[in-house]
């Protein structure tokens, strides 16, 4: 029953949204990472965020991350959700859950997956600050070299 999930979605992401999807009887560990909208960036107050995605390609790149993870670690299932649209403080922007028989694989793979997502998946964040300013945030362009 357990399986992989790679999805861009508009609706709210719940913190346990992937747990049952990735868990099988042979798993002894599930590591879950939730990226959450923080109320500030380096002290500048954030009002809300807007995420834009190249949806089809983003899901394809997330699938590729899942494949990389399975080549590197003995994991069972990989789930990655990313939300788009307007997100309020405290809401989940990205959720990754990885199951494995033993703990080390799911912990390391989850860390790797979120780092890779921030390098290769075509999604962009616009910050709208409490002082009225707003800007599309650009990631580190050097990260794109390791696409």
């Amino acid at each position: 029953m357990a399986g992989d999930v790679y999805k861009i979605q508009d609706k709210k992401i719940k913190p346990d949204a992937l747990y049952n999807a990735v868990l099988a009887d042979s798993d002894g560990a599930v590591t879950t990472f939730a990226g959450v909208v923080r109320d500030n960036t380096k002290g500048r107050g954030t009002s809300y965020l807007v995420y834009d995605a190249y949806r089809d390609m983003a899901e394809k790149k997330m699938r590729e991350i899942g494949k990389e993870v399975k080549e590197k670690w003995e994991v069972d299932c990989v789930g990655i959700l990313h939300r788009v649209g307007r997100l309020e403080i405290g809401e989940i922007s990205v959720l990754i859950a990885i199951s494995s028989p033993h703990r080390k694989a799911s912990l390391e793979a989850c860390h790797y997956a979120i780092d890779r997502l921030k390098q290769t998946v075509p999604i962009w964040k616009k910050e709208v600050w409490t002082d009225g300013g707003e800007a599309w945030i650009e990631g580190d362009p050097s990260a794109l070299a390791s696409r």
């Binding site: 990226g35 995420y51 834009d52 995605a53 190249y54 089809d56 390609m57 983003a58 394809k60 990313h82 922007s93 990205v94 979120i114 997502l117 921030k118 390098q119 290769t120 998946v121 075509p122 999604i123 962009w124 964040k125 616009k126 599309w136 945030i137 650009e138 990631g139 580190d140 362009p141 990260a143 794109l144 696409r147």
Partner: protein, 81 residues
């Protein structure tokens, strides 16, 4: 040949639309497409060096040749997560 070109985030704001149909001569490359867009919108020249380009959802280099029906996307440094 006819291609579909997608623009995202800051690049979409600059171009003023998220999607355009464009016509290019046969054998045109990504560089040719960038030149054509830069002629229409001078500030695209400044932005272009920081953009990744994908063709049919796979990242490509600037010398990649385009084909009729391709979906080309200009991808600013990603900032998801």
């Amino acid at each position: 040949m006819n291609i579909k070109v997608l623009f995202f985030a800051s690049c979409r704001d600059l171009i003023g639309t998220g999607e355009r149909k464009m016509t290019l001569p046969d054998g045109a490359t990504v560089t040719d497409l960038i030149s054509k867009l830069a002629m229409e919108q001078a500030r695209f020249t400044d932005m272009a060096p920081s953009l990744m380009v994908s063709v049919n959802q796979a990242y490509v280099e600037r010398d990649a040749k385009l084909q009729d029906g391709d979906e080309v996307a200009f991808i600013p440094p990603v900032s998801g997560g």
